[in-house]
Amino acid sequence: MAVTGGAMFLFVIGHMAGNLKVLFGPEAFNEHPKWLRSIGEGLLGHGGFVWIARVGLLLSLVLHMTAAIQLARRARTARPARYQHRRPVQGSYAARTMRWGGVIIALFLVYHLMDLTAGWLNPVGDLENPYGNVTADFRHWYVSLTYAVAIVTLGFHIRHGVWSALQTLGASNGARQRVLRGVALGVAVAICAGFLAVPFSVLTGLVK
């Protein structure tokens, strides 16, 4: 869980950095995918890096979900009879929503790929002009809302995920525990802010 989550976490950070180029105008934004495809071109051929990354991410995703399902099934086995009365949340909200949050993120991912990677669901759908696709998307409030819900869910997922991964990998100890929790929260907030900046800019007209 921790390792595959970590891989996807790195991707999310990269993705966010790319997204933020939207603030620098159409050229900068449309350049980004081209640049990505050109990484290691000499060795991997055009777009080779992107495909390697896609395979790696897919693998991480599958393993991550497999582990999640296994944990969920173990949890169900471990408590065959449920409590009749249970106080809802004692630990953090993020921790309690990991499973459903993961499902929401997975569903969003499917939509997101069909929308902006394949272009099937996009109002513009011009793969050569991602800037146009994105701005066309977010002018619709319901697209922005869906996106925002998914990002906030991702934020929660990352907040618990980062901390939990550090705990699982044994990096946490008494003195560091509070710091690490703070780091996890900070990272999650930063990622949320970074991703939400795009629809916010489009909706407020900062980006046209």
Binding site: L71, A75, T77, A78, H85, A95, T168, L169, N173
Partner: protein
């Protein structure tokens, strides 16, 4: 004060159980929770009913025998308090109190609120000790131990094995219990030779006993009557990871 208790009654391990309501009058705020159940039980006996079975022994919060879900919280509303040390002054007149046993496959119900926690003994048997046969010890001052290490080890050693961590965990995991022992012994110089094998063996036994996996949900530590910190789990994970990476120890 007057309370309504909604208590899980189950006649035996293979019987179906259900919540049954009991009205209890004249509850004194100075009573402990278990003394209130004593009073109810005496009444039930005289009324020709079966008293409620619950585990308890020392009644001073140290033996770890008592424990029940009180209004959905392991050991009830007071932090760092076992059920036997919970006093009725923390409840108010007219309260409805739901009382259930610990629920986990590894802790099958024997009767009413009594569960079998033998799985914890199996985990300790798998490696929760230092091999030091009687008579083999060097002088107690042969190995000085820095006070902070000794204090930290003590903090983890305070675990009473009550099972509240498992009961509170949404995954039904026993990692806090397992980690407390691994931390206690792993922090002491005497515990170093078996540190990694201990962690690996205890965890393997934990998993084999149908405890759930840890997702660091963090429900266990607040429920722990002895305040065993969550970081113990990280320590256990670290020892297991190190043993796994180095390939030094395979579970027995």
């Amino acid at each position: 004060m007057r309370l309504t208790l909604r208590v899980w009654r189950q006649a035996g391990p293979d019987e179906d159980g259900r919540l049954v309501d009991y009205a209890v009058d004249d509850v004194s705020p100075d009573m402990s929770f278990l003394e209130m159940l004593d009073v109810l039980n005496e009444r039930l006996v005289l009324d020709g009913e079966e008293p409620i079975a619950f585990d308890h022994d020392c009644r001073e919060g140290i033996c770890g025998m008592c424990g029940m879900m009180i209004n959905g919280v392991a050991h009830g509303p007071e932090r760092a308090t076992t059920t036997c040390q919970l006093h009725m002054r923390h409840f108010s007149d007219g309260d409805v109190v739901v009382i259930e046993p610990w629920r986990a496959r590894a802790f099958p119900v024997i009767r009413d609120l009594v569960v079998d926690r033998g799985a914890f003994d199996r985990i300790i048997e798998a490696g929760g000790y230092i091999t030091a046969p009687t008579g083999s010890a060097p002088d107690a001052h042969a190995i000085p131990i820095p006070k902070p290490d000794a204090d930290k080890a003590f903090e983890a050693a305070a675990c009473i094995g009550c099972g509240a961590c498992v009961a509170a965990c949404p995954n039904g995991s026993g990692m806090l219990f397992t980690a407390a022992k691994a931390t206690h012994l792993g922090l002491l110089p005497q515990g170093q030779p078996e540190r990694h094998s201990r962690a690996v063996d205890m965890l393997a036994t934990h998993d084999a006993l149908d405890f759930g996996g840890c997702t660091n949900a963090g429900e266990c530590a607040p429920a722990c009557p002895k305040g065993i910190p969550l970081e113990s789990i990280a320590r256990l994970n670290r020892d297991v990871l190190r043993a796994t990476v180095s390939g030094a120890h395979k579970p027995r």
